[in-house]
Symmetry: C2
Subunit: 340 residues, 2 copies
DNA sequence: CCTTAAAACCGAAACGTTTCGGTTCTTTAG
DNA sequence: CTAAAGAACCGAAACGTTTCGGTTTTAAGG
């Protein structure tokens, strides 16, 4: 391994100047910079990261901590997240470490040890919950992080999010505009922030149109086809109050809803209209539904590059407005809604 | 951040002794070791990895490089692998970095840059193929690695594997012992080493019993239920030569086979017997088949701790026999085989 | 009580980089 | 021609650990 010292000897320059040349500082002449670059390439010089880390205190490493109940998160989704993040950071020359904690371990302890001994520069936090302890801890320890999502009323940190309020609002409003009045909402896991935000959008659209709220029409649960099926069927338990339309928080839930409606002998959209939010997960195309599903759409995969950029900026101490981003979304009409 | 120096001051010991105490060297008295441990805990001391790395020349980081076609590998399986490895290494105080390469990128270049600039200590290689380029490259660069699997006739490196020959052999032999003579094999993707090894075991069992080989009875393909269904139905295209038993390389394939047999109006085990290898993936229990599936079993999850240990040993330069491991397996009789 | 061996300890160097606080050389202004 | 300013460079310290090559203390043997 060639070191800076080797280079400096070879170039008859001080180690200082070689270092500064390679890092493009401004008190090195252009000529020298080029000479150094050339020699570095010639001698196949590679900076020793460990040394650099020791002296700068930065590791270039970012991390994601996932808790043991990895089975709770759909494997499909987990794969997407892991893959997307890893790829985005890899492309930017950062190392992405994945830290899987044991069952029942204290997650905050894991963060602590990662920060203190592995010298991690920053974290990505996924699936934030209301009052997320991780966020509080990292703010407190002043460690950079970016949240994939947002906690309502508490947004003094870096995040990438989609407009979940609009998801709930626009889908519901779309149905209201077409004459629907009893609209059910099959939402995701109860304590997730995006689930809450979507519920608020749903409620706002209903009350904005002067429609009554019915608590029994909003159902939280896993984002899985099986959960959608069960919830959907339960919606029709007392058929005098059955909904004429269903909003699904996710396309997998919609698969369940379609199956449930079919089992009940109800047709989409003639008997019941269905709309959903589409993350564009591979293997679950809204177009391959029969009839094709009307959706709001933001590809999940769109988020990884921004997240990597936002975290890099956050690590570099950029101001708040440069480390927050809300992705816009499209509403795509297909054939799953009937105008009453 | 507490450092060794802080500790030594607090304990009125030299930095040397503190370091040696924490690393359990043998010229430190037991009493001192305990005193140091206690103080370290009290002052919340965490070793600074960067410094340790610099002086030892080791980064403590291990990596897994996954290629873009992450969708080819079942998400279910990918999740298991990533999770298991990450967890095993996390528990051992190593950082596990996941490097996802872009589409069509040169994987070997990715290894090169990871080795040279990130200072990675070693790699895990999963899903090896016959004549795997990664293995050749890493051997050539003298970078430690451990293979999850094995390449036949070329085993001068660290690996963890199960006895795939035995999987093919024992399942086939089990059927032969019960009077079956036309035995099909739904195997995995063609160029994978474990697929080949299982095929060899299958062939050996057949020829060992003096039975004829029929090329059309061995089918390679994806390890998915859909692939199993299709292959299974094709097996019965010409019914004069239909198999009386099917060996499946994987429990998901067996799900497909069960579905295919059902569709063809054939009963398990009365018309056709089925056996499979079981990796014990969550959500695919052999016991929940009807009838319950007879399998050879090695939990996939059993491998991650040994893999982490083997790689650690390999990094420490342990001799070949200490860095290779073949896991034994169980054959569990359930109700999916009929004695002819 | 002295000698020797073993046990316990310690100072200082080393790892490869960045950066602080200079110095030297060149150019420009008066 | 001199003073000042700016450009280009450099030595040495620092980061927190491990480890080499000792020294001191304790215990054992005679």
């Amino acid at each position: 391994m060639t070191t800076l010292k080797d280079l400096s000897r070879h170039l008859k320059l001080s180690v200082t100047q070689v270092s500064r040349a390679l890092n493009d500082h401004d008190d090195v002449s252009q000529a020298t910079k080029e000479r150094v670059q050339k020699a570095a390439k010639l001698l196949n010089y590679r900076v020793n990261m460990s040394a650099k880390r020791l002296v700068t205190g930065r590791s270039g490493i970012v991390g994601l901590v996932v808790e043991q109940d990895g089975d709770v998160l759909e494997p499909q989704l987990f794969t997407q997240v892991i893959w997307g993040l890893s790829h985005a950071f890899s492309e930017r020359g950062r190392q992405f470490i994945l830290h899987a904690t044991g069952a029942g371990g204290d997650v905050l302890r894991e963060y602590e040890s990662l920060i203190d001994s592995a010298g991690i520069d920053g974290f990505v936090i996924t699936e934030p919950t209301l009052n997320d302890r991780r966020i509080a801890y990292l703010i407190n320890r002043k460690v950079p992080f970016v949240v994939h999502g947002r906690v309502p009323d508490h947004t003094d940190y870096a995040f990438y999010d989609i407009d979940n309020f609009a998801v709930g609002h626009d889908l519901t409003r779309y149905l209201i505009d077409r004459g629907h009045q009893r609209i059910a909402f099959l939402n995701g896991p109860a304590n997730r922030t995006y689930v809450e935000a979507r519920r608020e959008g749903y409620v706002a659209a209903l009350t904005g149109a002067g429609l009554a709220l019915d608590q029994t029409l909003h159902i939280t649960g896993d984002m899985a086809a099986t959960a959608g099926l069960v919830s959907c069927i339960r919606l029709f338990d007392k058929d005098n109050v059955s909904p004429t339309a269903i909003v699904c928080s996710n396309i997998t839930l919609a698969e369940g809803a379609y199956a449930g409606l079919k089992a009940l002998g109800l047709a989409v959209p003639d008997d019941v209209s269905v709309v959903a939010h589409d993350d564009l997960l591979p293997g679950h195309a809204a177009t391959s539904f029969t009839p094709p599903l009307t959706t709001t759409m933001v590809p999940l995969s769109k988020g990884w590059p921004p997240i990597a950029d936002l975290l890099s900026r956050e690590i570099d101490g950029a101001p708040l407005e440069q480390v927050q981003m809300v992705e816009s979304m499209d509403l795509i009409e297909r054939g799953s809604v009937r105008t009453l």
